[in-house]
């Protein structure tokens, strides 16, 4: 049963990819939906068995690599953590599959789209259920691949191609770090199996090893590089630039991959490796720092964006920052709880944004929307629920996890806690600001769009309404329903799948916070939303007027609107430097210079040259031949003696180097080759 959770999506992928032509897009939709649905049902049963009855399942399928040195198997390890992710992934994937049947119905390649979605689901399940780092890496790369394929789904659009390649490359940087982390684990533990590594970890926490001749503590090194990998996948500051651009893909893809599941893979990996992180306080602090900065940065950028999907993308980035710093404060269960809740309301937001875009004939700029609450009342309702849940409105889903994270940050009475608390509070109010801005500009203000985009407006079909309705139900109720299960004090649900060092835990401090602290996030969110309504209701032209009259404000606006010039920074400094390095050094000097010179080119030339020289010897004179035969015979016979004689005086390695230098120099002189 547990294996079918993982392999139903794979079957669905193969069926729809290989037989998509014969099944027609309708048949493909039915098959993929049913496969994912079964997978979802089975993972619900698994959730009951593993989560509630507390019996983890470990399946070792078969061997993958089995040498003396490395052992990696296709193993599946279902514990509370991974089965929760399974339920989440299959649930969102099911809804997105249903949604896509109608959203992509006009596309001739719908079956390919569905097959990619199923493949993504398979890889994601592979990632969350793996029992060793290598298989986790397999799933990790697989979801990256699917992200590339799906962003690039409309491959005739140049912008989509660019975004897809950008996503791929920036993820590669993170993956390189992840690989280094995994390799360092292998160097120390000689195995990649989670269970072995985590149980041996306390014994090696003082070990050091050399990397580039620098002495590193093994735990610090490993956790640092694993976190760098997670930064790439989870779009933390610095490696986040691919996420807003990934919005070029179809909207269901944004909902499934770039909001709900794939971007949380990094968070999942941190939670899974919690035993490693718990032993390195430095890296925990670093994680907190990066997460808080990300949430702040993405929030501020989100205010100044005008693209409907980019605003939501930046809010995703901001929420990912929340999850990361919750991990950094070693409250992994809260981070996972936020992953779940965030998945519901962010998928809801994306899917309803998709329905707006669909009905407005692909209009994405919120400045050209407005007045939609009269013509799209259902979508309006859905977006309102999603936004309110995102803002952490009391008793909606987002409230339970987001406030829990902020309270934890407050209750951690150290620098990391204070830092992340205030940045988190600030970005919570910013979240409220841009959510209300989005709502107001798209739905409440006067229509600003083109006439033709309003003429064809329609409410979505049933297959698009159903996922939205389900997700809105989850966004309203699920946080309340599952709070005690996931983050209640002393909940037995996690059952060893999360490890928290007792000295890092502050669950009890959270409950004894002063009353007013618990109100700060709510008050600030309300302030943010009131400010937003005030700005956009009374001064809708505020930004425009300020930008045109005040140069300084215009500069600031540009700075934030262009995402703090991170792209430019990356392109102009790092990328162009690397490109120049690659061309001037690696390509011109090494590849086409030195290697070519010592290798194929000169070898052939020198062989010809030597052959010409040798040709002169061949005169046909018998006495000369006799002389050569005799001389060389004597030489070879006495070779051993000669070496033996000089052995004490001469270092033959040095001689060899010297002779090869002479050889190369002779070559240069002979052929006049210049370096």
């Amino acid at each position: 049963m547990y294996l079918s959770i993982v392999f139903f999506p794979l079957a669905s992928f193969f069926l729809s990819l290989c037989f998509g032509k014969y099944l027609t897009s309708k048949g493909v939709s039915i098959i993929t939906n049913f496969c994912i649905f079964f997978s979802f049902l089975l993972s619900l049963i698994g959730f009951y068995e593993i989560g509630f009855c507390r019996c983890p399942v470990y399946i070792k399928l078969f061997c993958w690599i089995d040498s003396e040195l490395v052992d990696a198997s296709w193993g599946f390890f279902f514990d509370s953590l991974s089965i929760t992710m399974c339920v989440l992934v299959t649930f969102i994937s099911l809804l997105v599959h249903i949604y896509s049947t109608s959203y992509m119905s006009h596309d001739p390649h719908q079956s390919r789209f569905m097959s990619y979605l199923s493949l993504f689901t398979f890889f994601m399940l592979m990632l969350v259920n793996s029992d060793n780092f290598l298989q986790l890496f397999f799933g990790w790369e697989g979801v990256g691949l699917c992200s590339y394929l799906l962003i690039n789904f409309w491959f005739t659009r140049l912008q989509a191609n660019k975004s897809a390649i950008k996503a791929m490359i920036i993820n590669r940087i993170g993956d390189l770090a992840l690989t280094l982390g995994i390799l360092s684990i292998f160097v120390v533990f000689k195995t990649l199996n989670f269970v072995v590594v985590f149980s041996l970890l306390p014994y090696v926490s003082n070990y050091t090893f050399f990397f580039f001749n620098v002495d590193f503590n093994i735990v610090v090194f490993t956790s640092l590089f694993l976190f760098l990998g997670a930064m790439g996948k989870s779009a933390q500051i610095g490696l986040h630039t691919w996420l807003p651009d990934a919005m070029e893909g179809p909207t269901p893809v944004s909902a499934l991959i770039h909001a709900a599941t794939m971007v949380t893979a990094g968070i999942f990996m941190i939670i899974r490796c919690s035993p490693i992180y718990e032993y390195s306080n430095v890296i925990l602090f670093y994680i907190t720092f990066v997460g808080a900065l990300t949430s702040f940065f993405a929030g501020v950028t989100g205010i100044f964006q005008n693209d409907l999907k980019k605003i939501i993308a930046f809010s995703t980035c901001s929420q990912l920052g929340y999850m990361t710093f919750a991990c950094g404060l070693s409250h992994y269960s809260v981070a996972l709880f936020h992953v779940l809740n965030h998945a519901y309301f962010k998928a809801l937001l994306f899917l309803s944004a998709g329905s707006i875009i669909h009905s407005l004939s692909d209009e994405q700029d919120i400045r050209r929307m407005g007045g939609l609450q009269r013509i799209l009342p259902f979508t309006y309702l859905m977006i309102s629920i999603g936004s309110l849940a995102l803002m952490g409105f009391p008793f909606l889903t987002g409230f339970y996890s987001k406030d829990a994270i902020l309270e934890i940050a407050y209750a951690k009475y150290n620098f990391a806690g204070v830092f992340s608390f205030w940045l988190g509070i600030f970005s919570a109010s910013i979240t409220a600001f841009y959510s209300i801005k989005l709502l107001y500009l798209a739905f409440l203000s006067n229509p600003n769009g083109f006439k033709h985009s309003f003429q064809l407006v329609y409410e979505p079909f049933l297959s698009m309404i159903l996922p939205l309705a389900l997700l809105s139900f989850c966004s309203v109720f699920l946080g309340f329903l599952s709070k005690d299960l996931f983050i209640g004090i002393g909940t037995p649900f996690w059952n060893n799948s999360i490890f928290i060092l007792p000295s890092n835990s502050n669950f009890l401090d959270v409950d004894f916070l002063p009353f007013y602290v618990k109100f700060i996030p709510f008050v600030l969110s309300v302030l943010g939303s009131v400010l937003s309504i005030f700005v956009y209701f009374f001064m809708p032209n505020l930004f425009f007027v300020l930008c045109t009259t005040n140069e300084v404000f215009s500069l600031i606006y540009t700075f934030f609107n262009k995402k703090w010039f991170f792209d430019r920074l990356q392109n102009e400094f790092i990328a162009s430097f690397l490109l120049k390095l690659g061309f001037n050094f690696t390509y011109k000097i090494v590849d086409k210079g030195f290697l070519e010179f010592c290798g194929p080119n000169n070898f052939s030339m020198y062989a010809l040259f030597l052959a010409e020289k040798i040709n002169n010897i061949k005169s046909g004179k018998i006495n000369l031949y006799a002389f050569l035969i005799f001389t060389f015979l004597m030489l070879f016979i006495s070779l051993g003696t000669i070496f033996h004689f000089f052995y004490g005086f001469v270092d033959f390695q040095v001689c060899f180097v010297y002779l090869s230098c002479i050889f190369i120099k002779k070559l240069t002189l002979d052929f006049g080759i210049k370096y």
Binding site: K618, S619, G620, K621, Y625, F627, F630
Partner: protein, 102 residues
């Protein structure tokens, strides 16, 4: 009987090298090559005999007889070949024997 093998060896080696240089440095007559080969074989024979006496073992002397026989046969064959060669080419000068060059 005690002999000073150094002197005898020097004689043998100088005979050998005279024969060798006769082959290498000779540019004119092919008969000289045959004579030089005989000289080399003689040097080797000499070596054999000297050392057989030196280590008191007559196997070397028997070997010298064999080599003597073979040298005679070989020079007979060589002379026969030269005669035929002279008939064909009309000369025995080495400069014209460069068929190996192809």
């Amino acid at each position: 009987m005690f002999i000073d093998q150094n002197e005898f060896t020097i004689v043998a080696i100088s005979l050998f090298f005279i024969g060798l240089s006769g082959i290498m440095l000779n540019r004119k007559n092919i008969i000289v090559i045959l004579m030089s080969i005989e000289l080399i074989l003689l040097a080797i024979n000499f070596n054999f005999v000297v050392f057989s006496i030196f280590i008191d073992d007559f196997l070397g002397q028997i070997f010298a007889f064999f080599i003597l026989t073979i040298a005679a046969a070989e020079s007979a064959i060589g002379l026969a070949i030269y005669v035929i060669f002279f008939r064909i080419r009309g000369t025995v000068s080495i400069d014209y024997i460069n068929l190996l060059k192809g």
